[in-house]
C-alpha cells in the first residue's frame, strides 16, 4: 500500500497568491506610535519580533501554553502569540524593553529576578517579569499564594519557581519603599594607584601608572 500524505496538517498552507494583502495599522508600542503593515492573521508576537525588532519577547510555543510571550496591552498581561495585531490597534502595548527606567537602571522586579535566582536560562524571564509587574501594579503586597496563582500562566523549566516567587516578593517590598538587602556587592575596584611602599631605588615611575626601568 503506497500513500502520499504530508505531516503538516489537516490545514492547507495558503500559497503567497492566496494570502490577503497587508494593511497598515498604527500601534502604540512602549510609548511610541509605530506603523506596521500586517496581515489580518498576524499575531502581535510576530509583529513585535519580526516587524519592530523587539526580540526581548520570546517565542516558546505559539499556542498560549508557556507564557514566554507575555506583554502588556493596556496594562494587562496578555499572550502576544494569541493576540491578533489588528485587534491591538490603538491600545497601549508595553514590552520587556520598556520596563526598565531610562539608561541602564533596572526596574525593581528586574533587579530582584537577576539577584535572587529568578532567572536561569532567561528565556521565560521577560514573560515572568511582565506578569509580575502587572501583578504588583494591581496588588502591591501579594501573598505567596497570590504570586503563585498569578504566575501560573508562565512556564519555567529551570528554577522550580520558588526563587521566582522570592524575587517577586522582594520586588514588591522594594516597590512599597521597604529596605531591601542587595545580594550583589559593588564590583568596582576602589584602589588608590601608586599607594604602596617603594623601597628606595627599586622603582621609577614611567609616567604610565607603574613599571620600572631596568
Amino acid at each position: 500500500m503506497a500513500e502520499t500524505q504530508p505531516l503538516r496538517g489537516p490545514f492547507r498552507v495558503p500559497s503567497a497568491a492566496d494570502r490577503p494583502p497587508k494593511q497598515v495599522v498604527r500601534l502604540n508600542v512602549n510609548g511610541h506610535a509605530r506603523e506596521v503593515a500586517v496581515r489580518p492573521s498576524d499575531v502581535l508576537l510576530d509583529t513585535l519580533r519580526d516587524d519592530l525588532g523587539l526580540t526581548g519577547t520570546t517565542r516558546g510555543c505559539d499556542m498560549g501554553t508557556c507564557g514566554c510571550c507575555t506583554v502588556h496591552v493596556d496594562g494587562r498581561p496578555v499572550l502576544s502569540c494569541l493576540t491578533l495585531t489588528l485587534l491591538a490597534e490603538g491600545a497601549e502595548i508595553r514590552t520587556i524593553e520598556d520596563v526598565a527606567p531610562a539608561g541602564t537602571d533596572l526596574h525593581p522586579v528586574q533587579r530582584a529576578f537577576a539577584q535572587h535566582g529568578g532567572s536561569q536560562c532567561g528565556f521565560c524571564t521577560p514573560g515572568f517579569i511582565m506578569t509580575s509587574v502587572a501583578l504588583l501594579a494591581r496588588r502591591p503586597d501579594p501573598s505567596d499564594e497570590e504570586i503563585r496563582r498569578e504566575i501560573s500562566g508562565n512556564m519555567c523549566r529551570c528554577t522550580g519557581y520558588n526563587k521566582i516567587v522570592e524575587s517577586v516578593r522582594v520586588a514588591a517590598a522594594e516597590l512599597r519603599g521597604e529596605e531591601v538587602a542587595s545580594v550583589a556587592s559593588p564590583g568596582d575596584l576602589d584602589v588608590p594607584r601608586g599607594a604602596y611602599d617603594k623601597p628606595a631605588g627599586a622603582y621609577r615611575s614611567n609616567g604610565h601608572g607603574g613599571g620600572k626601568s631596568r
Binding site: A114, F123, G187, L189
Partner: protein, 786 residues
Amino acid sequence: MTSRDSRSPHGVGQRVPLIDGPSKVTGTAVYTDDIRLPGTLVGKILRSPHAHAKIVSIDTSAAESMPGVRAVVTGSRDLRTFGVLPISKDEVALAVDKVIYVGDCVAGVAADDEETALAACEAIRVEYEPLPIVGKADDALKECPPEQKLHPDTRHPSNLQKQVDQNFGDVDAAFAGADHVAKGNFRFIGVTHAFTEPHCVIAHFEPTGRLTVWSATQVPHYLHRDLAAVMDLPMHRIRVIRPMVGGAFGGKSDPFPHEMITALLSRRTGRPVKIRFDREEVFLTNHGRHPTKTSIGVACDGDGKLLGLDLDALIDGGAWGSFGVVTTYYNGVLSVGPYRFDNFRYRGRRVYTNKPPCGAMRGHGAVNSRFAFEVLIDELAEKCGVDAAEFRLRNLLPSNTTTLNGFRITSNGTEECIRRVVEASDWKNKRGKLPYGRGIGIACGFYISGSALRINWNKVPQSTAHLKIDMDGGVTVHCMAAEIGQGSDTMLAQCVAEVLGLPIEWIRVFSRDSDLDPIDLGSYSSRVTFMAGNAARRAAEVIRGKLCAAAARLTGYDAEGFDTRDGHVVWLPNPAIRVPYLDALLEAIAGKGALIAKGCYHDAPPMGGSHKGAAAGLSPTYSFQSYVTETEVDPETGFVKPVKVWAAHDCGKALNPLAVEMQIEGCLHMGLGQALMESFGYNRATVGNPSFLDYKIPGPLEMPDVEVHIVESDDPEGPFGAKEAGEGPLLPILPSLANAVRDAVGITMYELPMTPDRVLKEIEKKERASAVREASEAANPKETVR
C-alpha cells in the same frame, strides 16, 4: 579586610548573581532566533507522517518551481552519517530510502518567508510504503529479517542496539544466603526536557568558503565535528557559535539533523538560512529520558547489611543511537553508590523502536534505576525492622575507597547529607508516626562529575581556558564551556576572580565562538564546573604568577611571598606591603604586551577496572545527595501533594551557594514532574501529547517548600574543592516522594508517574487485600500470626 576566606568579594563561596542576569531580565539577551542576518531565508523541514516506511519516491519539482522557494534538499547516500558517540554514528541528516519515526526528516526547504516554506513542504510529494512498526521494546527484542530492522547494519539479529552484562561477586549465592530479599518490576514511561526555547539554528555558507553556524546547543564541539563530517569540510572551515541557550537539560546535547539540513540549504543557496522549530517539532524529535522496564532485586542480611543488587533494564531507545550506549551502561553502573555491597549483576539492553529518539536528560541513565533501588531499600529496611534512614547509614560507602566495579570514590558527604536532612525534617518524630494520608520518606543519590574518559579517543584536553589581560585591567576568559542557563559563565568568572583577587565585574567570559574560544567538550554529564573550572583556575594561576613577579620587581620583596587579594598584590609576610592590581599589571605588561595564559583540564588520573565497559561511569569525582520529602496523599482521590522537601547535596564546595540552590531547586522540580505527572505518551509509536497542553509539568502551585542543605566535602581535585550540582540533585526526589507515599498510605509505587488514578488503584488493592486477610483471620483466629 573581612572575615571571608575568598580573595575576591565575588570569589569562592560568595552568593553571586549570574553575570548575564541583567541582559536576561531586560530582554536584551540574544538567543539564536533573535539573530537577524541580512538576506536570511526561512528553512522548514518536511517530516515523516509514518513511524516506519519505505520511501518509494520523492517528487520535489512542484515545490522547487514555487515562487520564493530557493532550495529543496533531500537525503542522499553521499552524506555521511553522524551521531554524538563515535560508536553509534547511525543518524542521517535526511532520510535515505526509509523513515524510522514520525517526525523523521524527509526534505528541507529554504524560502523567502515562512508561509512559502510551509507551502513548499506541502507541495513535496512523497510516496511511502509502510513497514511493520516496532512500537514496544519487547517487540524490538524479537528476531526479524534485516529489512525490518531500523538499522540493518547492527550486529544483532533483532532491533537490539546494545547489551551490557556485568557481574561482580556471586549474586545468586548472596541472594540464596540472604535473610531478606526485595524484588520489584518497575515501569517508567518516557519524559522529555521541555526547555522553553525551541531548537533554532542559523547557517551561513559564506563566499569565503567558510560555514558559520549559530545554534542553540550544549555541545558546540560535537556539533563542529559532525558538521565537518556531514558537510565534508575540514573543521577549520567551520565556525560554530552558541548564542544564549534557553534551557537544554540534555535536550540540546546531540548534533542534530536540523543543524545539518540548515547547513546544506545554506550551501545550496549561498544565503543564511534559519530553521526554528515549533513546539510540536520539539516534542516529535524528543531525545528525552528513555522509557524503561527495570527488574530489580536487592538482598540484605538480618542486621540490614546490603549483600547484593541484581538489576535488569530494558531501555526503549527510539529511532537512533544518540547517547544510548552510555545510557545502557549508566542504568546499571550508576547504582554502585552511595552504598557498599559486594555482589552486583546487571543486564542492560537498549533497543531501537520506531518512536522518536531518546537521549540524555538531566540525571542521564541514573534516574530510573535509582528510583527502583531506593524504593526497595525501604522495603528491605521494613523487613529488617530498621529505620529507613538508619538502614542507609549502615550501608554507606566511605570516602576514599573503590566501588566493587572499580569506581574511585574520593570526597563523599553522604553521611552528613543524611544526618542533616534527618535532623532538619524531625524525621524521628515523623516517620511512621504521621496520621494516615501524610507521610515522610528518604532517599539518596549518586552521580558523576564529568566522565573521566572522553567520548572521542584523542589527546585534546577535556577543557581549555585562555585568559587575556591588557592595560585596561579587565580579564577576558575564553572557554567553550556552554552556558545554557546553569551559570557556567558565572562559575568561570568566579574561579578567575578568586585567583586574581578581583571583583567579578572585571571578568568577562567568552564561551560561544569556536574561532575564538578554546575547546571544551560541552555542557553534559555534569562536567563543566569540575573540568572548565579547573582549566580557568589554572590559567588564572599563571597570570597571578606574573602579577606577583611584577609586584616583586616594583617593591624589591620576594615574588614567592606575594598573593593577589582584593584588588592588590599583597606581600603575605607583611600585608602592609601591597601593590595595587593595576600597577602590578602595567609593570607585568611593560615591554611585553598583554598578559596571556592558558590552562586546561586534561584527564583524570588513571583509574578503573579492566572489565568490558569499565570506563563507563568512571568520573574524577562523584556527587552525593540525600533528600527527605514529606507529602500528603488523599486516600479518597489518590492525589499526591508533596508539602516539603529537605534537600541535602554534597557539591564538594559551593563556589556560589546561590547557583547551587538554583540547580538543586530546578532538579527537584524536574524530578517531581517525572514522579507526579509528566508522561511522554504514545499512540503505538506516535507521540500522543506533543504540546504543553497535554504534556503536564508541575506549575508554581504544585511546588513544595524546599529547604536546601549544601554539604561541602571539599573534593581534592575539584576547583577549590567543587564538584557537580546540576544533575545529581534530581535523583533522590522521585524515590523519596515514593517512600513518603508508602509511609502515608502503605502502598509501593512500581510505576511512574504517580498519577491519582494509579495511586488510588494501589490503595484499593491494598484495602482489598487487607479486607481478605481480616476476613480469613476472623474465620480462623488461630492462624493469626501478624
